[in-house]
């Protein structure tokens, strides 16, 4: 039985080569193998969105992918958002509007918002609400998250 495979992938611009168990999810790989624990595990069945990352530019649920499926891919996680010491505009906006409390859902929201704003640079509030409908937050009641995304997308 082939239980392990070698994969090579790029995460936040850095290339990694690792041997992984075929049944390891991409989320677990990022957290356990690469120590990129910014990607969170909420439900592990695709509902909560806490594990959202970018795969070749598309927002996906990393809990619903196997690490071996990311062989050859280019990934972006929340650790790749901020350029150095400055916060990414989305992160800055989340900070200013109090769009996070416990912060558990936040990486997933940031990656979702990042992908969304790239595709829809001037969204309406309704569009933002629909775009984030696949991410669950227990703390904030969502209003400040919507405000943060609108603020960031307006360049504010």
């Amino acid at each position: 039985m082939t239980t392990k495979r070698t994969i090579q992938l790029t995460v936040n611009g850095s290339v990694y080569k690792r041997m992984v168990e075929v049944r390891m999810t991409l989320a677990d790989f990022l957290r356990e193998e690469l120590n990129l624990t910014g990607t969170h595990l909420g439900c592990e069945h695709g509902i909560c969105g806490a594990c959202t990352i970018l795969l070749n530019g598309d927002a996906v649920r990393s809990c619903l992918m196997l690490a071996v499926q990311a062989d050859g891919a280019s990934l972006m996680t929340v650790e790749g958002l901020a350029p150095g010491e400055t916060l990414h505009p989305l992160q800055q906006a989340f900070h200013e509007t109090h769009a996070l409390q416990c912060g558990f859902c936040t990486p997933g929201f940031l990656m979702t918002a990042y992908a969304f704003v790239k595709e829809t640079p001037n969204p309406t509030e309704d569009q933002v609400r629909e775009a984030i409908s696949g991410n669950i937050c227990r703390c904030t009641g969502y209003v400040p998250i919507v405000q943060a995304i609108l603020q960031a997308s307006r360049g504010g």
């Binding site: 039985m1 082939t2 239980t3 495979r5 075929v22 049944r23 999810t25 677990d28 595990l41 592990e44 069945h45 695709g46 969105g49 959202t52 795969l55 598309d58 927002a59 996906v60 649920r61 809990c63 619903l64 992918m65 196997l66 071996v68 499926q69 979702t112 992908a115 969304f116 609400r129 629909e130 775009a131 409908s133 696949g134």
Partner: protein, 294 residues
């Protein structure tokens, strides 16, 4: 919440994939988008001994128009690609308009049309749409290929007529007529949820606003999506007014035989089935020349 151990294959061409299916048959599950299978595997509700990852079969992702306006969609086409396809927006407005109802965009970035259809969740949009659009499916095994009509495909919850050694490779849609009108209604508690109940209406009207043919499909109302033939017969050849629509709604509610589950009771699905059927028909009637709003 981790999958049980399995043997993993990632074939790079379809013959390889079909040979693997022939070899492992019902011990194997095909992994396409993973948006339905991975949750089941993570929760260990599914424990396939073998996983055949078909994501490298890029030849199976396509949207191809036929000469007569028919459409062939490769089973591995991502739902997001269908959503963004200008060809589909132009020539299959019902399909284009309903794609955004499927889960969330993160799901659609990975989920495939073939995967959703073979998974056959009765509350899912694509199986219902394939029934409403009178699709045909191409099923291939290592030894043969067959084409099956959608009416013979969905058997019950999560069960289709596909054999363990077969793979769905293509979805064929007949041409969409520009004069057809359509309506789509779905009831769910939150944006992106599976439907509690949903309806798809396609009407062919003549110049005198008489309904020539009606296709009415309901989903979330039992083990498979269903066509409401009795309601369709009521509408055929008739001028459709509010009184008629209310009659249709009543018949739909009478005829449906859904089950109760944790999301909704049978009574709820019956009653709301009638309501969404009426609303979908009303939406169809309200359209001009097949182009309407969501």
């Amino acid at each position: 919440m981790k999958p049980a151990p399995f043997e993993y294959f990632a074939p790079t061409d379809i013959e390889e994939a079909l040979d693997l299916l022939a070899q492992y048959g019902d011990e194997a599950k095909i992994l396409a988008g993973g948006q339905s299978l991975m949750p089941l595997m993570n929760m260990r509700l599914a424990r396939p001994r073998v996983v055949i990852d078909v994501n490298r079969l890029s030849d199976l992702a396509y949207v191809s128009p036929g000469a007569d306006g028919a459409l062939a969609i490769g089973a591995l086409t991502r739902q997001r690609a269908i959503e963004r396809s200008s060809l589909i927006h132009e020539h299959h407005p019902l399909l284009a308009a309903t794609m955004p109802f499927i889960g969330h965009f993160q799901i659609r970035n990975r989920g495939t049309i073939g995967g959703s259809i073979v998974h056959a969740d009765p509350a899912a949009e694509l199986p219902a749409l394939s029934l409403a659009l009178q699709a045909e499916f191409v099923l291939r095994s290592a030894t043969q290929q067959r084409v099956i009509n959608v009416t013979d495909f969905f058997l019950t919850y999560l069960t289709t007529a596909i054999e363990p050694v077969e793979m769905l490779t293509e979805i064929r849609l007949p041409p969409w007529m520009e004069q057809w009108r359509w309506g789509f209604q779905e009831v769910c508690r939150r944006d992106g949820d599976f439907a509690l109940v949903g309806a798809v209406a396609v009407l062919q009207m003549d110049a005198q606003a008489v309904c020539q043919t009606a296709l009415l499909t309901l989903f979330g109302v039992g083990g498979t999506p269903v066509r409401l033939h009795r309601a369709e017969e009521m509408l055929a050849g008739r001028q459709v007014d509010d009184r008629m629509l209310n009659e249709v709604a009543k018949v739909v509610a009478e005829v449906l035989e859904p089950d109760s589950d944790i999301h909704a009771s049978a009574e709820y699905r019956k009653e709301v089935g009638g309501v969404v059927a009426r609303r979908a028909l009303q939406a169809a009637l309200g359209q001009v020349r097949g182009r309407g709003e969501r």
